[in-house]
Symmetry: C2
Subunit: 359 residues, 2 copies
């Protein structure tokens, strides 16, 4: 039997990361500097007031090692979309409308041709999110950045700021058994789990395929499948939140479906059952290829690492289920109920007739 | 005669970087997404409205290779101050009051002990800037980051958002010959020119000294001198801007005194004369040591790379000179007139009785 292969084997230690995140709690000491009143702590991120009943949400996020996949493909015009997506999809979790995005690129060397390609993606992402990009920074720091190809290495970090009125804040409170969990279709693996995917899929990192090979089940080269830009959920989320009460909004990124556990800190006595997954072929390919390489990734691990087809989720009252799906679909994103809130604690997933206890 | 040594020799090509910055101009296409009216272009950064007569300034900045100096010193509790400083000192250039800062750290590995040290600096910086830190992100991306010591590598990027009312925006307009240029004392080399400084000062990077050596003229180990955190200018700038008309505010970072050239796009027919420099011993040490190593750094290059003792500058009407200095000094920052605006184009510096034509 092949030994189990986890995200830690691909270089990411989830437990150590959790400890580090705890060390970030000291940042709460800064809340006393809020100029217009109290910071509101939310399940994902926090918002601070800028006046009567008006709040800002500031987030900062990177695209992780997907930049290495862009280098492998030698295609740089979409990675900026991922950057915008990672930031604005985090901002909307509070219900905030993203206003502006700023990007910071640390590179081996300022290469104007490369910068132009990067900016194509940033502008495209900003257009989809309807955001201003008031500033972008490029820093030449060859001693800080590892690249796949010398001179082409880079790392991307994006900030976004959004605003939300008090009554529209998505608080994570009052989630009740029976509430519907609505999934918004992802465009593939997005920007999370990329390290694990790379180590399985690409020879360059110990995996199986050459980048331009088209494995069975995919309709294009594996490198382009992995590089597919992260979907931006600003429009569906904001339209739904405009018309309906959204109880929680989850950007399914690092830790994937484990993220729902965070909501139990804001609504007590609840758990989550998921039963509707039709992951894109890329996810099945990763799992199957891992097996072939003798590095089995159990389902449990897949759901802790990948979005498995749904890149964003919202929780609404059961009565609002159909309307939420309808509004979201009208923005062009495939949307469906993927589970429901239960009265028994834990996160359970029904997948291919198998029951997975995630937590 | 030793050959001239420039910043490009230390790995930073200023011309190529300028071309890359031009490629960022495409971001202006996103200005049409401004939700509450027109983006206002400023000499340094841009602000966008969030309502009647109210604007936000969003910036993102890194601390550059100063992270390598922290690794060399094995001292991690102040580099977070540099991160906050780089972001908030950029925000205040528009006259905006920083409200919040968010930090993103890309690391070899989440090391909770290290995170705790980093956060000490972030919290200290935020306290000085009176900013909330609503979120901080740590990403484990060992394949993206080069470190001095395996497992200790990291890169830091900080975002800050500030607000300013329309009439308080520092526009860079109406600068006139005779206006006073007021310098705010730096705390040393800050976070710019560090690559050049490292290559001269530390054996580790081809320079002269072991990190814990105390060279003549310094009062402490050279590594601690370089690691001294960047001063935060929020209080002096905002206090002065509260009481007086500030015509321009310049954060003296990359390109140093060349930055003033940017102001000629907003006020025509002006130039800048500087005549008051008493750089800290670290700057003289860099220049002297470079000479000893046969890599002469001419004065011209020094003033294009380093802050030379003044980390921030403001331009006010001559009549407001004394009051501006007085208000700034009361916040605890040594402040003095360092030059004045002229009616002849160019940037000229009088230093040690020598005249330097910077541009």
């Amino acid at each position: 039997m092949p030994r189990k292969f986890t995200y830690a084997d691909a270089g990411v230690d989830r437990e150590l990361r959790a400890k580090s995140k705890k060390a970030l709690k000291v940042l709460k000491e800064t809340y006393r500097f809020s100029r217009y009143g109290k910071v509101v702590s939310l399940p994902f991120g926090n918002v601070f007031p800028i006046g009567r009943n008006r709040y800002l949400d500031l987030v900062i996020e990177g695209v992780g090692t997907k930049v290495l996949v862009a280098q492998l493909a030698e295609k740089y015009d979409t990675i900026g979309i991922d950057g915008v997506a990672m930031a604005v999809n985090d901002v909307i979790r509070s219900g905030a409308m993203p206003l502006a995005v700023a990007d910071n690129i640390h590179a081996h060397v300022s290469n104007p041709a490369l910068v132009r390609e990067w900016m194509k993606g940033v502008v495209k992402g900003a257009a989809e999110a309807e955001c201003v990009v008031p500033s972008g920074e490029i820093g030449d720091v060859p001693e800080l950045i590892k690249g796949l190809v010398e001179g082409r290495g880079f790392d991307m970090v994006f900030a976004a700021v959004g605003e939300v009125s008090g009554e529209k804040i998505i608080s994570g409170k009052n989630i009740k058994p029976g509430d519907a969990i609505i999934g918004l279709r992802s465009s593939g693996i997005h920007s999370n789990g990329v390290s694990l995917a790379r180590s399985i899929l690409f020879k360059r990192w110990g995996g199986k395929y050459e980048p331009y090979y088209v494995p069975e089940g995919l309709e294009r080269e594996v490198v382009h499948e992995v590089l597919e830009p992260t979907r931006i959920y600003v429009k569906p989320l904001l339209r739904v939140a405009e018309e309906l009460k959204v109880k929680a909004a989850v950007h399914i990124t690092g830790d994937a479906y484990l993220k729902f556990d965070r909501l139990t800190k804001f609504s007590e006595g609840i758990g989550f059952d998921f039963d509707n997954f039709k992951p894109q072929p890329i996810f099945e390919l990763i799992q199957k290829t891992a097996s072939e390489l003798g590095r089995m990734i159990v389902d449990h691990e897949m759901f802790k690492t990948f979005n498995m087809g749904w890149g964003f989720a919202i929780i609404v009252d059961k009565a609002n289920r159909d309307k939420a799906i309808d509004i979201s679909e009208k923005t062009g994103v495939q949307t469906d109920q993927i589970g429901h809130v239960t009265d028994s604690e834990g996160i359970k997933i029904l997948y291919k007739s198998r029951k997975i206890i995630l937590k």
